[in-house]
Amino acid sequence: MIHFLYLIGFAFIVSVAFAVFNKGTEKEKIIYGLKIFGQFVGISLIMAWVFYFLPW
């Protein structure tokens, strides 16, 4: 569980920073931040399941 919390915390903090650094309106920044957050969490979970089925 602690690993997942670290994943969520890391994804949230980095997404907020990237969204702020990004150019565009406030709405575009929020959408960009949410997109990155989703990608961080989603891709990590997909990779975790792929590694789970690998025998080595």
Binding site: F10, V14, A17, K23
Partner: protein
């Protein structure tokens, strides 16, 4: 710590506002132009997000300094300061990358070095200290990005 930084930067900004009326600030007997990009960059490195306050971007500064200091505090609580990192023998490039990334924390790097002088004996059994080490590195790298962003704003490349 975050509030101390905000207070310090605001105090500094007031001094700069007074100094900007004469365009130069007298400091220790020498003329020091506080609008110098190297001074803004150095302060941004030492106190993450400080450059935004100096350029009048309070909201952006609050978010970025809050984010970087949060990451740093999580790293310290997780035992990241005790993370030995990679030794030079394990690969010079990885070792230098670790040093470069943690150096980005500025004042946080010095705090980390100070904490690492007396690591607790049960460090190796701590579950999260490797996560802490990674958080410490990423906080430093985010601060480098913030400094580049501040230079972009300063030079007018970004609004």
């Amino acid at each position: 710590m975050f509030y101390i930084q905000v207070f310090a930067v605001y105090s500094l900004r007031n001094i700069i506002d007074v100094g900007s009326q004469t365009s130069h600030l007298l400091l220790k007997g020498s003329n020091l132009n506080m609008k110098n990009p190297f001074i803004i960059g150095s302060l941004s490195w030492l106190f993450p997000g400080a450059g935004y306050f100096l350029l009048g971007r309070t909201k952006r500064g609050l978010i970025i300094s809050g984010v970087i200091w949060s990451m740093f505090i999580i790293a310290i609580i997780s035992g990241g300061a005790y993370y030995p990192g990679l030794s030079f023998n394990e690969g010079a490039l990885l070792y230098l990358l670790h040093i470069f990334a943690t150096l980005g924390n500025g004042l946080g790097y010095l705090i980390g070095v100070f904490l690492n002088l007396n690591p607790p004996p049960d460090t190796a059994s701590t579950l999260t200290f490797e996560y802490g080490g990674r958080f410490l590195e990423v906080a430093g790298l985010l601060n480098f990005l913030a400094i580049i962003d501040i230079f972009d704003i300063y030079s007018g490349r970004k609004e």
